[in-house]
């Protein structure tokens, strides 16, 4: 059968370059974890009263949530807008989103002073007037939704047919929940920074920050799906069935076209932020250069490259553009939360991450890659289970 998946157990040897590097990183991560939970935040971070949030928020949370947006964008395209040619991309995108959000919550345990109280704002003392409460509640609910959306894959692998069929019937409802919750908290992450009008550089501060965060999350998610599918094709090519292999070009071109259009709109909306606040005078400054680099190099350029790639059917160009777009989102979230934040402070008071913070971030990303590898190898993510062909 040509469309049968080819099991590639990868059991030839445990000693591969990936496993060795991952093992070393996990060992270092566990040691840093020990230092963090025995010595407190000061042991492995440069956080202080000026910078209570460092790269664990900028990268692990803000970038993690934005780049996990592929889950709701792909599910919406397939199940809500009915574009079923993107069906093959749904499970990898949902898995990426689920792991992304799970690692956001995992990383938060390092960042909050008393992680054992992480559930307090939801179950013990809800701060219903706080934007942070809304973010926490949405992430908590959306992580649950993503878990339920991902569940059919392991249930198929475990041959739990009845439970799996119930979960499949819930797909549409869960997708709608996912879109609502994502819309709310992607924008709320931007709304968190509305409290800082005097601490953030005017080029980045805007009353429209929630809209900027939400719109940028859309093309971040689309770009991440293209990027993830490129890597998956390299690593999981043998596991993919015919539907997945044939569906990937549709996903790549369709998502690139959507990302190009959304990025074009995002560029002009951000530009209107400069126009409406009369921020022209800041453009020829150092911060203006960074802002211009972000807008021209990491928004306008990838938008045009996506458009060029779609027009010329150049899949390689689109895949490299996805890398640029993903880097652009990381650049934007770092700019908002670290570069533009406290811009008026003298350079000696500025924050630079401690090596321990960088180590924990690399550890968290590595844990994500290991989990993706284990789940991708053992559940029907890149192929349809032979017992359920065409049934979801």
């Amino acid at each position: 059968m040509s469309n049968q998946h080819h099991p590639d157990t990868g059991r030839s040897s445990w000693i591969t370059p990936f496993n060795v590097v991952a093992f070393i990183i996990v060992l270092i991560g566990l040691y840093l974890t020990y230092l963090r939970f025995t010595g407190g935040l000061a042991a492995i971070t440069n956080l202080d009263d000026n910078y209570p949030w460092g790269i664990w928020i900028s990268f692990d949370l803000l970038c993690g949530v934005a780049l996990a947006a592929g889950g709701y964008t792909t599910a919406a395209a397939c199940y809500v807008f009915g574009i079923h040619k993107y069906h093959a991309a749904v499970r990898p995108a949902v898995l990426t989103a689920f792991l992304g959000y799970a690692l956001v919550v995992f990383a938060l345990h390092y960042d909050v002073g008393q992680p054992w109280r992480l559930a307090y704002p939801i179950f013990v003392q809800p701060g219903t007037t706080s934007v942070l409460y809304e973010v926490g509640l949405c992430v908590f609910l959306y992580l649950t939704v993503l878990f339920l959306e991902w569940l059919p894959a392991p249930l198929e692998a475990l041959k739990l047919k009845r439970v799996r069929n119930i979960m499949i019937k819930l797909t549409f409802v869960l997708t709608v929940f996912g879109i609502i919750l994502s819309t709310m908290h992607q924008s709320s992450l931007g709304a968190l920074y509305l409290i800082l009008p005097s601490k953030m550089h005017p080029l980045w501060f805007s009353s429209h920050l929630p809209i900027y965060f939400f719109i940028s999350s859309m093309f971040a998610g689309l770009s991440m799906v293209i990027f993830e599918s490129t890597l998956s094709h390299r690593w999981y090519h043998k596991k993919m069935d015919k539907e997945h292999l044939e569906g990937t070009p549709h996903v790549t071109f369709g998502f690139a076209k959507a990302a190009a259009w959304i990025m074009g709109g995002y560029f002009f909306i951000k530009f209107f932020g400069v126009v409406l606040n009369a921020n022209w005078a800041y453009l020829p400054t150092f911060y203006g250069m960074i802002f211009s680099l972000e807008m021209l190099g990491f928004v306008a350029l990838p938008a045009l490259l996506y458009a060029k790639g779609v027009r010329t059917r150049n899949i390689k160009l689109i895949r490299w553009t996805a890398v640029l777009a993903v880097l652009g989102i990381i650049f934007n979230r770092f700019n908002v939360s670290l570069v533009a934040y406290n811009y008026h402070l003298p350079s000696e008071d500025k924050y630079f991450p401690h090596i321990g913070e960088i180590g924990i971030t690399i550890f968290v990303v590595t844990v994500g890659l290991i989990l993706f590898k284990v789940i991708g190898n053992n559940t029907p993510i890149f192929y349809e289970h032979p017992d359920y062909k065409g049934s979801h």
């Binding site: 076209k257 709109g265 126009v275 009369a278 020829p284 458009a307 059917r313």
Partner: protein, 44 residues
Amino acid sequence: MFDTVFYTMLEFELFTKSWAYIFMGVTVITMLAYWLFISGQDED
């Protein structure tokens, strides 16, 4: 444009809104052209 000084709120509003309207026109035309460029090779 870079060294504009505003003495009243009205001056600020007039300046920013005027430029906003001009850029709205530029944006509409650019986005239309951009859409035609993106969808130029569509099969249908």
